[in-house]
Each structure stands twice: as structure tokens, then as C-alpha cells.
């Protein structure tokens, strides 16, 4: 049976929830509402933050196999020199601009998975992103995204409009689908705007009535979510937010998104799944090595993740940040001091529950004989193995067959990113 959290929020009580739901849910739902105004740490719930590195990040220059001479032979102009790499395990190392993440690595809260990617061979950004977001490689017809299907499958947390939030102007493919999810371009400006609060409330009510009575289809569901979110946000007042522990978020979209995610996490409005895009990874030309184009993007990523971890403090114990990118890039640099579309890449997993301090996955090496189509790092971990592990072991998902149709989630294939 489908219980609409809409009804719940509107009713402002738990009386409606006498129907076949487990007591844990009732307790959480009730607490969820009680916690609206004064944030408390009484109840921890697992939170997943997904960052999509759009454009295909060069995994080899992010998590550098500096122990392999082939890496340096194939990339005379863009390899990160061994003297610059932040060594992790004698073979792999962080790009120097990710050095800020080293303490998280040392405290076992950061892991990397190498040679991960899609079983589908496409080198098209659009196809590969599509597959990674739909969670069905090779199948174009899948209408919804896997994060949305997860939300639909696990209704336990369906008690707040902030359950699944994408930080950006558009709802991404990964969250598209019938489970309610929210796209927020700017947390502070969220809602109707008017000079006085009274005028604002009146306008909000008027539009709410308009949409409640006349909207159809997607306009109807989206507007309902919008007005619930407005209500809740009014009570937490994001304009007053100050990052904790001296966290210094980088300027730009990513820093802003991470700050707002931290804000919502600490406001305890029931955020469970957050998503943000990080663009600028399609480095065909003048990619750079320790410095340059890619370095600048990695620097922003490293700073944003570090600030986020600092800002959350102990709250990071409930949070996993997962980075993903549609594919990797060619092992060999191209004629323009860049790299072209490849196959496997590297992903990062960060947070309290992470089994960190290790580069996970089965490393196929850079030997041309082991490469995919003779040119790219081969995929040894299907991205769904990692995503499934995070959903199962961190968020507690039980049935993954609906989240990843046509794929059998097998714990023996999980890369081991989440500590059991």
C-alpha cells in the first residue's frame, strides 16, 4: 500500500499511520516532525550524498598509479610526477591537489575504487551518463533513475519532502521517477518571494490552491512537493547558517551545493539522498599534470569534500559521499596534451561508515594486453556492485532487484567500501 507522506505532513500528526506500517517507521516519522524546529542529534539516520563528475574524469590522474612506469611512458606530458603524488599505498597516490583529503584517508574515512565502470562499451557521454543514472547499462528505455527507484522501494523514510534532493536547477536523470524528489537551485531563495512575510504567505497559499485544484500530471506532484518543502524550510531558516569547525567551502557551484547539503543534514529535515553535479572533467585538450585544468577541478573537489567533512564533524558518522563519473579516459595522452574518452575510471567513497584507507577493486594494470580494446583501463568492478553495496550496507536497502533490474546484487562481488 502506498502511503503518501504528503497526507502525513499536512495532517501534522501520526494518527493516519495506523495502517500496516512497522513501529520503527512510526517512531521515526513522529520524531521527524518533532525535530523540525530545534535540530537535535537524538536520532541518526544514514545519508547518502552522490556527486556526479560529468564529462568523464581521468581516474588515472585522480588516483595515480605512480608505481607503474607504463603510466609515465604513456603520458609524457600529463603524468603527475612521482615527486608530486601524495602516496597512498606505495603504488597508488592522490593527485597533489587532492592532498587535503589525506587526513580522511589516514583516519580510514576515505576509500577509492579503481577500474570501476560500466559493462557497456559506449564512449558517448550521454549514453554512459544515462546508463549510470538509470542504473541499466545498455538499456535506453528505462524511464527512471536508480536513486529514485531506491526511494520508491524503501518507503521507510518517506516522511519529508527533503528525503531526496538534487542541488541544481534541474532534477537529474538519476532522481527522475515517481518517488517524490526535489531540485533546489538555491536553498536561501527557495519558495515564493514577497516584500513582507504576510504577503509571501498569502501568495504561497494562493498558488498552492491553484495547483492543488487544477494541475495535472507531473505539474501536480511537483507542486505538492514544492509547497511542503516551503513549509518545512520556513522553520529551519537557512539564511542563518554558519559552517562549523572553521570549514571553508570553495567558491563556485560545488562548494555551494556541499554547504547546502551540510545545512540540510544538520537541520534534520529528513534528508536521506542528496545529489549534485560537478562539471568540467572532459579534458581532451591541455589537461595538465600537477597543475592545469584537471588540477583546478580536483582542487575544488578536494576542498569541497574536506570542508564538508569538517563542517559535519561527528555527523559524518552517518554520511557516505559517493563520487561517480560516466567513464574514464584513454591511458595514453592524445595529440592535444589531453585524453579522449576511455572506459574504466576511479570513484571515491567518503564518510564515517566507509571502510577507508584502501584502494579497492581489482586492478587490471596498464599493460596493453589487459586493456579494454587495447587502449583503456578495463572495467573490473561493475558500478552497480559499488552502488548496490552502498545502498545495502549503508542505507539498509533489502531488495535491490527493483533498484537494478536485470542485475543480481551479489555481496561477494561488493568491493568492500562500507565497513560491515
Amino acid at each position: 500500500m502506498t502511503i503518501s507522506r504528503r497526507v502525513f505532513v499536512k495532517s501534522g500528526g501520526i494518527a493516519l499511520f495506523s495502517v500496516g506500517l512497522d513501529p520503527l517507521f512510526l517512531a521515526r516519522a513522529a520524531l521527524g516532525l518533532d525535530r523540525l524546529s530545534p535540530p537535535s542529534t537524538a536520532l541518526s539516520r544514514p545519508i547518502l550524498v552522490c556527486l556526479f563528475q560529468r564529462g568523464a574524469v581521468d581516474g588515472l590522474n585522480m588516483i595515480v598509479p605512480h608505481g607503474d612506469p607504463l603510466y609515465y611512458r604513456e603520458r609524457p606530458r600529463i603524468a603527475v610526477p612521482g615527486t608530486d603524488v601524495v602516496d597512498l599505498d606505495g603504488y597508488f597516490g592522490l593527485h597533489p591537489r587532492l592532498a587535503a583529503l589525506k587526513p580522511l584517508w589516514d583516519s580510514k574515512r576515505l576509500a577509492a575504487i579503481h577500474a570501476i565502470g560500466s559493462p557497456d562499451a559506449t564512449r558517448s557521454h550521454f549514453d554512459a551518463q544515462d546508463y549510470m543514472e538509470s542504473g541499466t547499462p545498455g538499456v535506453k528505455a528505462t524511464p527512471d533513475g536508480w536513486l529514485n527507484r531506491y526511494c520508491r522501494h524503501d518507503r521507510e523514510h518517506q516522511d519529508t519532502p527533503f528525503r531526496a534532493v538534487a542541488f541544481g536547477p534541474e532534477l537529474p536523470r538519476i532522481l527522475a521517477g515517481s518517488a517524490p524528489s526535489l531540485a533546489i537551485a538555491d536553498l536561501q531563495a527557495f519558495g515564493l518571494r514577497a516584500p513582507q512575510p504576510a504577503a509571501r504567505d498569502r501568495l504561497t497559499r494562493a498558488f498552492e490552491e491553484l495547483y492543488a485544484g487544477s494541475a495535472t500530471g507531473l505539474l501536480s506532484t511537483s507542486s505538492q512537493e514544492a509547497f511542503q518543502a516551503v513549509q518545512m524550510l520556513q522553520r529551519v531558516d537557512p539564511t542563518q547558517y554558519q559552517p562549523a569547525n572553521g570549514a571553508d567551502y570553495p567558491r563556485g557551484k560545488l562548494g555551494k551545493a556541499m554547504l547546502e547539503i551540510a545545512q540540510l543534514i544538520k537541520a534534520d529535515v529528513g534528508l536521506q539522498v542528496a545529489f549534485a553535479d560537478v562539471t568540467g572533467w572532459d579534458t581532451h585538450v591541455n589537461q595538465g599534470a600537477s597543475e592545469g585544468q584537471l588540477a583546478a577541478r580536483l582542487s575544488e573537489l578536494g576542498q569541497a569534500l574536506t570542508a564538508f567533512a569538517q563542517d559535519l564533524g561527528d555527523k559524518l558518522d552517518d554520511v557516505v559521499v559517493l563520487t561517480m563519473s560516466e567513464f574514464g579516459r584513454t591511458v595514453r595522452e592524445n595529440g592535444n596534451s589531453g585524453t579522449d574518452h576511455g572506459h574504466a575510471t576511479a570513484m571515491l567513497v567518503l564518510g564515517g561508515p566507509v571502510n577507508g584507507g584502501r584502494v579497492l577493486g581489482k586492478w587490471p594494470g596498464l599493460d596493453p594486453a589487459n586493456r579494454f580494446e587495447g587502449r583503456d583501463v578495463a572495467v573490473t568492478t561493475d558500478f552497480r556492485d559499488l552502488f548496490a553495496e552502498v545502498l545495502a550496507r549503508h542505507l539498509g536497502a533489502r531488495d535491490l532487484s527493483t533498484v537494478f533490474p536485470g542485475f543480481t546484487a551479489d555481496p561477494t562481488r561488493f568491493p568492500g567500501a562500507i565497513s560491515g
Partner: protein, 527 residues
């Protein structure tokens, strides 16, 4: 059986009886409203009545011949856009000046690199960039050649470039003016070839740097590094980027039956298609030295060595007239004009017209507009407006007369569609799920209120043309329904607006609120 007879009778009442079994009993005003919502950026006050009276099919035919439509009012407004007086060479120089000024600032130890650059030349550069975006909105709002402007937007997304990528900062305006606009209603093949040769596209998808493996120029290549010192650059290699997007997005489509092998062969064919002095806004140039001199084979067709640039032209013609391309682009057109999930019949009609006329875009469009699916009631008001369509239709509905102030373009950006700034080559999406989400809907409501209240500088609404200042809420609501919503206002909307304006004493304020609610409300989000 009975239903069919009834429908057949209803068909007679429709403008010209062009629609058959899917026929809907659309009244002339409804047909006019539908056509204005799809072929145009929505009606301006009084326009539904005018088009209905003149005959909607006649209006459609006129829109299909934009050269015959007088557009002097828009031409006058266009002359206020300084940026149009600058060619890409001028813009390249301006851009270089901004860069030099920035270097200078850095050298002088002004380390606050994040601070906006307020030097006169930087301000001018930003003003021009904003003008380019605003110009698109102004044309869409004011042009009498509405279908033409819709098609310019369609092709701009189909052949997407990214305004903020390096040289495309000064190549994009020229691309819109001289590559897309002159060919938006011509033959697809001409448009495809023009985009392939355009500096903006060559730069955006990196083809200008793609050279045959091992080829080196007969003269040393220099590039300028950060410090301003010229350094010799290494010989370039092959780049597949343009080749891949050409096949996947511009022509065959992702399921168009090509493989990685074809992508590489296409990339080889386009080696040497480059730009003369791109940093100075130079023109297309074919570099013989960079061209791959071997034989190539694409989709089973041989491209014998030794034909230089002609190999590329031959390939573009082959692709432009390939069955997969015809289907792919026809389907996209049906998606734009008919339904997010276009009916097969519509696509078939468009494909047939394309084949008959060898890709005459006007005839493909005519086939779509004359087909039964276009007029089917299930497709009327079925599409949700994109942010551009929403903002422009709101400006038109309120009879705003936007000037060069980039406020409307900023509004479009805020709603999620910053013009010419879609990074990926697939262009902005057409389907509603990309645009309808709770945050974006709230932004639309805010935009509607601001616009209707006349609080948007440079795009002031003239609500007198919708409804006189009246103390009678019922009359006000009826006028708004007629002029803005084409008579589709729901009872609920009437009731809510009525309730909202009932206690506002100032009739001017009441009218602004009523219009704001109507434009921000659910009916107006559809087209």
C-alpha cells in the same frame, strides 16, 4: 461506430478539414490558440482572435514563408543591440583585451581573482555576452516570424555549442547570426555543412585541432602560454569528438547503426577541417597538411584517398540524406511540435515529406502541421513549456516590449536554461521531466508575479491590452482567461483568483495579482 460519425461531423466545423480520424472538434479559436502555442511563443493579447478570423491554416502557411512577413518593428529593436555591430574579429579583439587587462591586474598584485573585473573593457565584454542572450529572448518575443524564431531555437539546441568555452566566447554570436539563422528554414543538408564548417562548432568539439597521426605543419605552430610568452606547440593528433557527436546527435542518432570504427573513420575524414587563427576570430580553413591521406570507409561506403576536403563534404551529404538521420531529426521535430512522445504517424509524415523534398525543412514542418496528430485533442496543451518558452510566452501574454536590458534572459537562466550555455552537445532537453520539478515551479511562480507587477526593468507589462482597470473581478477573470489562457482556465483557477482579488481595493494591484497568478498557475505552464 457512432463516435466516429460524430467526429466526422465535428471535423467539418474545423478550419479546413485537414485532419481525419483523430480529428477533434477544435473550434477556430481553439485551433488558433493551439497553433500560437506551438508554432509561436504563445499569443499576444488579441492575437488568438486575429488568427482565428484570418484562418489558422492561412496563418500557418504564412509562417512557413518567413521572408514574406514584414518584421520592421523587430529590426528597429535589433538595431539597439550594439553587439550586432561587432563581427567575430572585433569580439575576439575585445576578448583579448579583457584577458590582457586581467593579466595586468594579476601582475600588479591584485590577487583577488574572484572579485569581478570592473575594468571598462571587462564590463563591455559582459554587457555584450548578456546582449547576445537577451537578443534571443527579444526576437522570440517580438518577431512576427514566430515559427522562424522557434526553428532557430530548435537548431541552436540541435547543433549546440557552448558560449563559455574559450574562443566560443567570441565565435558563438557569429554562429547564431550567420550559420544557424540564415538556414533555419532551408535545407537540412546546407545547415549541416554550414555547422561543420563553422569556427564555433570546430572549436567547441575540438575538430580544429584534429590532425592525422604523424602529420606536422609546414610551419611552426605557436601558442601563447600564461605568461604571454610564445612557445612552440607539439604536433597534434586525431580527435574523435566532433565525429562522434556528428553521428550520434547531429545526424544518425544514437541507435543509427554506426560503431566505434565509423567514428574513427569519420574523424579521419575531418582531419584538417580547422580555423584560421582562431584566437583572432578567423574563418574556416582546410589544412591539407593535417588531412589523413589514407582510404576511409564509413557505414560501408568507401572514401577513396586523395580528395582532401571533398571527402568531408561528400560524407556530410551522405549523412544528411541517410534514412537514420531523416528519422532521427523528424522525430525530434515531432517531439518539439506535437508531443514529448511523438506518435509514429507524425514521424512517418515528416519522413515522407523529407524524402520527397530532399530535406526541405519547411515542407517537413508543413507535413507535421497538416497531419492529424498535430491537431489531436490529446496533444493540445499536452506539452509543458521550456523555461525559454515560459518566459517569452509570459512576456508576450502581458504585451511586454523588452529592450536590451538582459532581465528576461536572466529570468530564463534562473529557471534552468541559460541560453547558449548548455555544456553538453545534446542541447537543452525537450521533454517535460527535465523542466518540471518543485524548485523550478516555484521559480516560475515568482517570475510570473514579478513580470505581471511590472517590476522587471526593460520588460514592462502593459496589462491594459489584456483587461481594463475594472472593479469587477468576474470581468477581469474572463478577460484574462480569453487573452492569456485561450479559454482554458479551470473553474478552480477562476475561484482562487476571484478570492484573491476580492479584498484588494486598488484595481490596478488586483489586476496585476490576477495576471501573475494566471501566468504562474498550472494552465499557463502548458502549451
Amino acid at each position: 461506430m457512432k463516435t466516429r460519425v460524430l467526429l466526422a461531423i465535428a471535423t467539418v466545423a474545423a478550419p479546413a478539414g485537414v485532419w481525419a480520424q483523430h480529428a477533434a472538434p477544435l473550434l477556430p479559436r481553439d485551433s488558433a490558440s493551439h497553433a500560437l502555442n506551438r508554432l509561436a511563443y504563445g499569443p499576444r493579447p488579441g492575437e488568438i482572435e486575429r488568427v482565428a478570423r484570418a484562418g489558422v491554416l492561412r496563418w500557418i502557411d504564412a509562417q512557413l514563408a518567413p521572408d514574406q512577413i514584414d518584421d520592421e518593428a523587430l529590426a528597429g529593436r535589433e538595431r539597439e543591440f550594439d553587439v550586432l555591430k561587432y563581427d567575430r574579429g572585433d569580439l575576439a579583439r575585445l576578448y583579448a583585451e579583457v584577458q590582457r587587462a586581467r593579466q595586468e591586474r594579476k601582475r600588479m598584485g591584485d590577487t583577488a581573482a574572484d572579485k569581478p573585473d570592473d575594468s571598462p573593457v571587462a564590463v563591455k565584454g559582459r554587457r555584450f555576452a548578456a546582449q547576445v542572450q537577451q537578443l534571443a529572448v527579444v526576437r522570440a518575443a517580438l518577431s512576427q516570424r514566430q515559427l522562424y524564431e522557434v526553428m532557430v531555437d530548435f537548431w541552436t539546441n540541435h547543433f549546440n555549442v557552448y558560449f563559455a568555452k574559450g574562443a566560443d566566447r567570441f565565435l558563438t554570436p557569429d554562429y547564431i547570426e550567420h550559420t544557424i539563422r540564415p538556414r533555419a528554414m532551408g535545407r537540412f543538408e546546407d545547415l549541416l555543412i554550414a555547422t561543420a564548417k563553422s569556427p564555433a562548432m570546430l572549436f567547441y568539439l575540438d575538430n580544429w585541432e584534429s590532425v592525422a597521426p604523424g602529420a606536422s605543419p609546414p610551419f611552426p605552430l605557436f601558442a601563447r602560454r600564461r605568461g604571454g610568452q610564445a612557445v612552440r606547440t607539439a604536433p597534434k593528433g586525431i580527435n574523435e569528438n566532433y565525429a562522434r557527436e556528428l553521428l550520434e546527435l547531429h545526424t544518425l542518432g544514437v541507435d543509427g547503426g554506426y560503431g566505434q570504427h565509423d567514428v574513427i573513420e569519420v574523424a579521419r575524414i575531418f582531419t584538417g577541417w580547422s580555423i584560421r587563427r582562431p584566437q583572432q576570430g578567423g574563418d574556416f580553413e582546410f589544412h591539407d597538411w593535417a588531412h589523413d591521406t589514407g582510404d576511409k570507409q564509413v557505414l560501408g561506403t568507401e572514401f577513396e584517398r586523395g580528395h582532401g576536403m571533398d571527402e568531408g563534404i561528400r560524407l556530410l551529404k551522405l549523412l544528411a540524406n541517410h534514412a537514420a538521420t531523416i528519422h532521427h531529426v523528424s522525430r525530434k521535430l515531432c517531439q518539439r511540435f506535437v508531443s514529448d512522445d511523438p506518435p509514429d504517424g507524425c514521424v512517418d509524415d515528416a519522413v515522407a515529406a523529407w524524402q520527397r523534398t530532399r530535406g526541405d525543412i519547411r515542407e517537413v514542418l508543413r507535413a507535421i502541421f497538416h497531419g492529424p496528430d498535430f491537431w489531436s485533442t490529446v496533444n493540445v496543451r499536452a506539452k509543458v513549456k521550456t523555461p525559454l518558452e515560459f518566459v517569452v510566452s509570459a512576456a508576450r501574454a502581458t504585451a511586454a516590449d523588452p529592450d536590451t536590458t538582459p532581465r528576461l534572459a536572466q529570468m530564463v537562466a534562473r529557471l534552468g536554461e541559460p541560453l547558449y550555455l548548455h555544456v553538453a552537445p545534446d542541447g537543452y532537453p525537450e521533454k517535460e521531466d527535465a523542466w518540471v520539478n518543485s524548485g523550478a515551479l516555484l521559480d516560475r511562480m515568482n517570475a510570473a508575479v514579478v513580470l505581471a507587477a511590472g517590476r522587471l526593468p526593460g520588460a514592462v507589462a502593459t496589462l491594459d491590452s489584456i483587461a481594463p482597470v475594472t472593479a469587477d473581478p468576474q470581468q477581469l477573470i474572463a478577460d484574462i482567461d480569453d487573452e492569456i489562457l485561450g479559454g482554458t482556465m479551470s473553474e478552480n483557477t477562476k475561484r482562487v483568483i476571484g478570492g484573491q482579488v476580492s479584498d484588494i481595493k486598488d484595481p490596478v494591484q488586483a489586476r496585476a495579482l490576477a495576471v501573475g497568478l494566471a501566468i504562474g498557475g498550472p494552465e499557463f505552464q502548458r502549451q
